[in-house]
Symmetry: D2
Subunit: 357 residues, 4 copies
């Protein structure tokens, strides 16, 4: 940490900072310039982070120069980690497709969407039973009966599923049925939810808040890690900007930045970021190319009758292109498509995929 003193700072003002820091066990290096004095603080950040140095007399600025996260940092674990979701991997060697309907509406719509997903190469299904909606008058999801539908389809297709949990009271119910718990963009700083999801014993998919900085997002992951659960996959899903032609602006740079800071896998949601069906495939290409460890995609068998987020879902006709895109760009980055966990020969390639064929 660096404390910048105002030009007017006296020796007493400087001593006051130094004393406060050394009192909590830190060390100070004072750089006295003609105009300005800078104090470098070395030691453990968590010691000083709570000191209100900003409020000290003649302190102009306090600049943090080290990381506030520990457990998810690649200082703590330099090798990228792979998260296993009921036998399927999300990690640095593979590209994993997660796909399914945005919302579970009916058993049939869910089954058909998930079959489309599997056909396109998905190894994890997705679907929303509890939907956070901007309007109280909008469809709020089927709740537990939605989970039952997902569970049945998941069993029949032999693929695990991830689903969103929106409030701490539902964590246990969701964790009993789902293979992975999703924390949505609006709940990224719902700290109680983060803690309870962390304790549920299942891997967690943590979406970036639509206006969270990367550091805040990684700190939210640290909340989960702090409960002892390191099976966390980060998901970039677009940030809010001034541009009205897309719902959000997909921040692809976040992928390499996150990978330079943490050991956690990171995937991209091309459906909610663009909010437009015609952007989904280009953004998937972009995501895989930039180095994402997977993509999570909305598909719908009949988007004209969707209850939620119809405009962005891929439809049946898109499935061959989705499969082809996944195959082609995964090969271009030198990875393999995560497929059936057991049957895949990781050293080589999934027999079912015929990469490069």
């Amino acid at each position: 940490m660096v404390v910048v003193m105002r030009t007017a700072a006296s020796d007493g003002d400087i001593d006051r900072v130094v004393d406060a820091v050394t009192n909590v066990g830190g060390e100070c290096f004072v750089s006295r310039g003609r105009h300005q004095t800078i104090i470098g603080l070395v030691g453990d950040l968590t010691q000083f982070a709570e000191l209100p140095l900003h409020a000290f007399p003649n302190v102009e600025d306090v600049i943090r120069v080290s990381r506030a996260f520990k457990l998810v940092s690649n200082d703590a674990q330099p090798r990228p980690s792979t998260v296993e979701v009921a036998g399927r991997a999300v990690g640095r060697d593979t590209v994993t497709l997660l796909a399914g309907p945005c919302a579970v509406e009916t058993p049939e719509q869910t089954r058909r969407a998930c079959e489309m997903a599997k056909e396109a190469g998905a190894s994890i299904l997705r679907g929303g039973a509890y939907k956070p909606r901007t309007s109280p008058y909008a469809f709020q999801g089927l709740g537990e009966s939605g989970l039952e539908i997902l569970q049945e389809v998941s069993r029949d297709l032999d693929l695990p599923f991830v689903t969103e949990v929106v409030t701490p009271a539902d964590v246990e119910t969701v964790a009993r049925r789902a293979d992975m718990l999703q924390v949505g963009t609006r709940n990224m700083q719902n700290f109680q939810l983060l803690k309870e999801v962390g304790l549920a014993g299942k891997p967690v998919l943590l979406k970036r808040g639509m206006t969270a900085t990367i550091e805040e997002w990684v700190m939210a992951a640290e909340y989960i890690a702090h409960t002892g659960n390191l099976d966390i996959v980060l998901c970039e899903r677009g940030v809010r900007t001034f541009e009205p032609m897309t719902r959000n602006t997909l921040d692809v740079s976040a992928v390499p930045v996150v990978q330079s800071l943490t050991h956690l896998p990171v995937i991209i949601d091309p459906s909610h970021s663009g909010g437009r069906r015609d952007l989904v495939l280009p953004l998937i290409r972009s995501a895989i190319a930039v180095g994402a460890d997977g993509v999570i995609v909305d598909v719908h068998p009949d988007p004209e009758h969707a209850l939620v987020d119809g405009p962005q879902a891929l439809v049946r006709e898109d499935m061959p292109a989705l499969r082809d895109t996944l195959t082609r760009f995964t090969a271009a980055v030198g990875r393999t498509v995560e497929s059936d966990g057991v049957a895949t020969d990781r050293a080589g390639r999934s027999p079912g995929w015929g990469l490069g064929a």
Copy 2:
């Protein structure tokens, strides 16, 4: 609602939209131009809002032109409403000062901060017992024992208090002791929390999400109203922009915009928006002048030892200026400072305040 068709749209495409809308009870007016056809939808928005018209063939755009909120709309209740908090008013005739420590740290710090607040003219106290913190390693608040401290100080100073509740499970505990429940910026779209807070039988202070649009914020208020609770005060606290010199950018325009849409009172938080003590008084002046119904301000008896958000708290020496600012600008907008609910002569002025003196 307006549906804009692509140039390529056929009569069949247009009919498809018209049929879908009339099926759910809406009415359509088709404007056929040489290049482009526009379909105007009239009727109740909640009927069409769920139709995935974006996904219909050759639909270029779907534009909502009416409001999605009802209960908090000034269509529903044209007269501005006044929210009473244990006898103190927040409404269009008065300017109400809410003040106290950012976080409850100790009984003494809380008492001293609240005494400062009262001295400066506060009629509602504030203080945080449950703190949503970006880092799991940061001080998380005293919890229920913090509530007890607040309750005792509140009783002694004969002023009600507002405090934040961060998760549904705490609502009952907080509502038992506090006079008003605060939903913080990170929880503005924690819909389950909104519902439970709405049902708690206490007035609610709803902060704007730091990157929420005004419409999303008003829709969050609609969630609370939907539970039958209309005692809602909105609070603008700065939005996130690219500017690094202030913590957030206070959006003063939000006050008249909100007042043109809803009947709810709206106040401003000058402490968290700027994040700098030197900006608090200018922003209070600005807030009152633009028409805010109150301001909520952090004060601290000893900010050098604050555990949370020290740099922005007003200190003892600032209290006379705070009191003077409140008095002077409240008079300039032709209102009275909300003071002791009983003793104030609303037609004239609070005897204790000597406005204009």
Copy 3:
């Protein structure tokens, strides 16, 4: 400036930085921590600012802690400066109203708008003869004949005028007729224009770029100052955010922030920031209250026939409220309304205004 080294940095890496800095005449203080080394650089920023220290081996971050501007800094001149525009002042003791039509359309429209402005208390007129328009198909302004209209109206009403110049080649023409030159939001970083405007011998009104940081804005002023011209008035006119209900988001905090950094006067444009007539008066109140040294306002005698920016112009019926607002809030901040430069008794109040009466 502070250079933060990576954990992996060797002594050689540290020496490399120290050598580069001392070579250009700076001084370094090295703070070696267990995990991280921080190097504090003291001396004249302009010496190091050009060093590409970011590109040095094992440098993690380079943080600037001192100001890059000099001539406009309040380090250079601690007393706030007052800019005189043909006898009218813009400065810390007064509040100055600049008003007139957004665009000069006809002699009559200009005259009527300027008469309205004078009636409301304006002491400087405004009007656009060269309009920067997003579309090449939109009305681009009357050019030099617009300047002639402005000059005639200005002479008849005995009030100076400010007008925008959009390209270096027009500076001489505009400076020959106008009393103050405006650099618009889209040209804030048109550095050649800044230089030529600076050399034109007239005071300059420098609008903030709609997405410029405060530091970039002040640096743009430094470009003008660098030509020897310190008669610069800054103008905050709203920044671009995600909020669609207002054209831009007025950043009132920018006023006290700028005043804490520079000695230049700063005014606010409530017309272009909100883009809505109903927001203009609330934003003027807010601007004066926060401490702005003036406001610049669009007025139009007949906005239904305006060629540019109709929706935000104040109309004839608004003039008494504008005059009253100006008077009342100027008094509340303890200033006087800038009026006729000669007749005003600065110590007391303008005879024509009857402040506080």
Copy 4:
């Protein structure tokens, strides 16, 4: 265009809008609902765009639903256009690498950087002789002698070059020497510069303003097209957001969005968007994969001594990876790398490149 009337609008108010529109040759379709009336305007947008309908009595909103640009629209020319720069193509069949030093500093640094660029597969060189710098104290570029250096290196390496022009007065000088003129991010709405650059008879590289909407950017291209010059290449270079870990946020979605609106080629600048050398290659992969028609990259032989933007330049060791990335991802999108215009067999592949080898 759609005009939304307030609930309170009378028949007279509606007629007023209809009359104004029909007076300028448009047609109106009125959709009268129980609560709200919507008026659809059909005809040529440029007719109504200048009507100040917002200022009409009881008009709530005016929504534009058609495009304001014509010449660059893919309505006007559905086939993607290819821009030729002295024999090298930028278009939909190829991926073109433009590379060179950010700024021309010395003849030797320029030559070495351009040789590196050629070696990596660049078919167009880049280099700045006129640098728009935030600070007046920063290196402003070598000006015309920088152009001479570029011209000589360009001749020797037999590759054309693009360079930025920052003010109208320099257009002629730059156009005499350069093969393509660049309009930088800060000048995207410098309309006089757009016009003069359009008239210079050379292809133009138009960077997106760092906070311009896509529509504003395309309208800026329309300014150039309006002069009769359709040889325009758009360049996305990152937009300004709240995220501090990257200089800007690269908006990859802008590529397919622009391609859905216009026939112009669009490329990406991975150097200035991220501002970090370690992000350049991932962002190039992402750019090519999303469908960009090229990338423009900073390279420097000795970034520790760079005068401008050192931290983001690729260095000599990066060249093989740059070449490999370009080859591999161009193949993945089914295009060919633009190479030597003459020698390339477009149907197949460039002999020098050995795609897929």
